[in-house]
C-alpha cells in the first residue's frame, strides 16, 4: 500500500531514531559505568570509560548494601513483600467488588459505589496524606495493631488507594463477559460465589494482568506514601525511601549513590526484559480506560 518511500528518507529516519535512543539510554549508561569507578575518577571524567573496574563495582555495591542508612536487603525484601501482597489483595478483592457492582448495575447502591470510586480517582494524595497518618495512628491504637511503620498497615493503605482504579478497569472488562455463561452455570446448580470463582475469575486473567502491571509499577516506585507511613529511618522501608535516606546521608559520593540507584533499577529492568509486551500493552490499556 501507499507509495514507495525513498531509501534516503528511511535511512535518515533510522539515524534520528538511533540518536534519540542514545539520548534516552545515556543516563542508564552513565549509571552503570560510574558505579564501577572511584569518586576521583568520576569527577575527572564522568562520561568516559577510564578507571572502571569490576572489582570497584563489587566494592561499591558491597559498601552500599552494608550501609546502615540503606539496608538494601531489608528494603528490598520489604518492597517485594509489600508490592506482592498489595497486588494479590487488589486483584482478588477488586475482582469480587467489580463483579458485584457489574451484576447489580440496575441498582442504585451499586451505581453509587461505582461513581464514588470513579470520582475518588481525582483526589490527590496530598489532600489525604496528613489526616491519613492521624487516622491510621488512631485506628492502630484502637485495634492494637500498629498501622504505621508496619507492613499490614501499608498494604491496607494500598488496597484503599488502588481500589478505585482497579475496580474501574475490572468492571469495564466484566461488563463484556456474556451473562449467558452465568445463567448456564446457575441452571447447573452453581451458587453465586461458585459462579464467580469457577466461571468468572478464570476469565479475568488478561485484565488482572493489566491491573497488576499498573498497580505494580505504581506501588514499587511510590515514594510519598511509604515515606509518610513508614518514616525515613524505620526498619520497615521500601527501596525508594531507602534510596532517599541513603542519599541524604552521603552527599556527593556519586559512585555510592549511583551504585544504590543501580541496585534500585535493576529489578525493574529485569522484569521489563521478560515481560516487555505485557507491560507496554498494560500501560496503554490503563491509560485509555483511566
Amino acid at each position: 500500500m501507499g507509495r514507495k518511500e525513498k531509501t534516503s528518507t528511511v535511512v535518515i529516519r533510522l539515524i534520528i531514531a538511533i540518536i534519540i535512543a542514545i539520548y534516552v539510554l545515556f543516563p542508564f549508561y552513565l549509571v552503570v559505568i560510574n558505579s564501577c569507578k572511584t569518586t576521583n575518577d568520576i569527577t575527572s571524567n564522568p562520561i568516559g570509560l577510564n578507571g572502571i573496574s569490576f572489582s570497584q563495582l563489587i566494592k561499591n555495591l558491597v559498601d552500599v548494601i552494608n550501609n546502615t542508612h540503606f539496608l538494601f536487603w531489608d528494603a528490598f525484601t520489604c518492597s517485594v513483600v509489600i508490592t506482592f501482597l498489595s497486588l494479590i489483595f487488589l486483584a482478588v478483592f477488586g475482582g469480587m467488588a467489580g463483579w458485584v457492582i457489574c451484576r447489580n448495575n440496575k441498582k442504585k447502591w451499586a451505581m453509587a459505589i461505582y461513581f464514588t470510586f470513579i470520582a475518588s480517582m481525582i483526589i490527590p494524595f496530598q489532600v489525604v496524606m496528613l489526616p491519613l497518618i492521624a487516622t491510621f495512628r488512631d485506628v492502630g491504637k484502637f485495634v492494637g495493631i500498629s498501622m504505621l511503620q508496619s507492613i499490614p498497615g501499608i498494604v491496607f493503605a494500598y488496597c484503599g488507594f488502588g481500589g478505585a482504579m482497579t475496580v474501574f478497569i475490572l468492571t469495564g472488562f466484566i461488563k463484556g463477559i456474556p451473562f449467558d455463561l452465568e445463567e448456564a452455570a446457575s441452571i447447573d446448580g452453581c451458587a453465586p460465589e461458585q459462579i464467580y470463582f469457577k466461571v468468572i475469575f478464570p476469565l479475568l486473567k488478561p485484565v488482572i494482568t493489566t491491573v497488576t502491571i499498573l498497580n505494580g509499577m505504581w506501588i514499587w516506585n511510590d515514594y510519598l506514601l511509604p515515606s509518610m507511613m513508614l518514616g525515613q529511618n524505620g526498619r520497615v522501608k521500601t527501596l525508594p525511601v531507602a534510596v532517599q535516606a541513603f542519599v541524604g546521608s552521603y552527599v556527593k559520593e556519586w559512585n555510592m549513590i549511583l551504585a544504590a540507584a543501580l541496585l534500585a533499577i535493576v529489578p525493574m529492568i529485569v522484569i521489563f526484559l521478560f515481560a516487555q509486551k505485557q507491560i507496554m500493552s498494560g500501560m496503554i490499556e490503563g491509560a485509555v480506560k483511566g
Binding site: 500500500m1 533510522l14 562520561i47 490527590p124 489532600v127 489525604v128 487516622t135 492494637g144 533499577i265 496503554i284
Partner: protein, 355 residues
C-alpha cells in the same frame, strides 16, 4: 439445594457467634484501656469470622445479598478508612489550628487567608501552572513525533519503542538523583567547555526549572508515545491509501487525516500529562528539593524558586510542622485538580458529540 447440611449450619453459627464474641471482647479490652497486645488479632479474627459466618449462612432468600456484602466489604472498608475518612477530616482540619495530632480551636478561613499572604506559596502556584503548561505541550509534541517515527517503516521498531519507554519504569526519586548527577557533573563539563559557564544548571532558578522539564519529558514522553502509537494504528489503512491515491502530501495526511482522527487520543494524553504534572513530587524533591533563589517577588526574597505545589504542601506540613496550613493548601490543590478534571471531561464529551 433447599436442605443445608447440619455441619454447614453449625459452622455458620459458630463463626458468627465466635466472631461477634471476639469482636466484643476486643472492644471491651480497648474500652478498658488494657494494654493487651493480642486484642488487635482478636478484632481482625472476629471480623473475618463474622464475614465467613455470613457467607455460609444457611439461607437461600438472602444469600445473594449477604454474598454481595461479603464481596464488597474488604475493598470498600479499605477505601473508607484510607480515602473517605481522611478526606472529610482533612477538609475539617483545614479550618482549625490542627497540629497533626489534635486541634484546640476553630479558626474559620484563617489558614486560607494566611496561605495567600505567603509570597512563596503564590510563587509555587505560578510556577506549577507554568510547569504544567510547558510540560503538557512539550511532552505531547515530543511523544507525538516519537509515535510518528515509531509507526513509520524503519528497522528495529520494537527496540526503539521499548527503549523510549524504558525511563518510565523508574521511580521519580531514583531518576531524580541520576539526573542530579548528570546535571552536576556531565552537563556542567559541557557548558564549561562551550561557554565557560562553570555553574551547574541546578544552581539557578530558571535553568533548574528547565532541568526539571527536561527530566520530566525524558521520563514521560515514552509512555505517552505508546498511547499515540495505539491511536495512530486505529487510523484505517484504506483511508490513508485513498488519500495517497488522491495525491496528498505527507504533511496534508498528517494534519487533515491523522490528527483529526486521533482527537480522542489527544484528549486522553493531554489529560494524563496535565494531572501527572500537577501531582509531580518525586522528581522535584530529588532533583532540586525546591531550592532556587528569587530576588524579588511581591517584595520578598524567596528561596523556594523551583518548589511546586505538591512539594510546597509537603514542606509546609512535614518539614515546617504547620499541619493545618499545609492541609488548607492541600484542599486548594484538590479543588484545582478537580476543576481541571471536570473541564477536561466536558471538553472531551463535547468533542465526541461533534464527531
Amino acid at each position: 439445594m433447599s436442605d443445608f447440611s447440619m455441619s454447614r449450619k453449625l459452622a455458620s453459627f459458630v463463626c458468627l457467634i465466635g466472631g461477634a464474641a471476639l469482636l466484643i471482647i476486643s472492644l471491651i479490652m480497648d474500652a478498658s484501656k488494657s494494654g493487651v497486645t493480642y486484642r488487635g488479632a482478636f478484632l481482625v479474627i472476629g471480623i473475618i469470622g463474622m464475614l465467613v459466618g455470613l457467607f455460609i449462612f444457611p439461607t437461600l432468600k438472602y444469600h445473594r445479598t449477604l454474598m454481595n456484602i461479603v464481596f464488597l466489604f474488604p475493598l470498600l472498608f479499605a477505601f473508607l478508612v484510607t480515602v473517605s475518612i481522611p478526606l472529610i477530616l482533612g477538609i475539617r482540619y483545614s479550618f482549625t489550628n490542627w497540629d497533626g495530632i489534635r486541634f484546640t480551636k476553630e479558626v474559620g478561613f484563617d489558614n486560607y487567608i494566611k496561605m495567600f499572604q505567603q509570597p512563596s506559596f503564590i510563587w509555587s502556584i505560578l510556577i506549577t501552572f507554568l510547569f504544567v503548561v510547558v510540560n503538557m505541550i512539550m511532552v505531547n509534541v515530543v511523544a507525538f513525533l516519537l509515535a510518528l517515527l515509531c509507526t513509520s517503516k524503519i528497522k528495529g521498531l520494537g527496540f526503539f519503542r521499548a527503549s523510549y519507554f524504558l525511563p518510565n519504569l523508574i521511580g521519580g526519586i531514583v531518576l531524580g538523583y541520576i539526573w542530579q548527577f548528570i546535571f552536576a557533573n556531565v552537563v556542567t563539563k559541557l557548558t564549561t567547555a562551550i561557554s565557560g559557564n562553570r555553574y551547574s544548571m541546578l544552581a539557578e532558578t530558571s535553568t533548574a526549572f528547565v532541568a526539571i522539564i527536561i527530566v520530566y519529558v525524558w521520563q514521560y514522553a515514552g509512555y505517552i508515545m505508546l498511547i499515540y502509537i495505539t491511536g495512530l494504528n486505529t487510523v484505517p489503512g484504506d483511508v490513508l491509501e485513498a488519500a495517497a491515491i488522491d495525491g496528498t502530501t505527507p504533511i496534508q495526511t498528517l494534519f487533515q487525516i491523522k490528527i483529526p482522527m486521533i482527537a480522542p487520543t489527544i484528549t486522553i494524553c493531554t489529560f494524563l500529562t496535565l494531572t501527572s504534572a500537577f501531582k509531580q513530587f518525586d522528581v522535584n524533591l530529588a532533583l532540586t528539593n525546591g531550592t532556587g533563589s528569587v530576588a524579588d517577588f511581591m517584595g520578598a526574597y524567596l528561596t523556594n524558586g523551583t518548589e511546586m505545589l505538591a512539594l510546597n504542601i509537603y514542606n509546609t506540613a512535614v518539614i515546617k510542622d504547620n499541619y493545618a496550613l499545609g492541609e488548607a493548601k492541600a484542599v486548594l490543590f484538590f479543588i484545582i485538580l478537580a476543576a481541571v478534571s471536570i473541564l477536561q471531561v466536558r471538553i472531551s464529551n463535547s468533542k465526541e458529540v461533534e464527531l
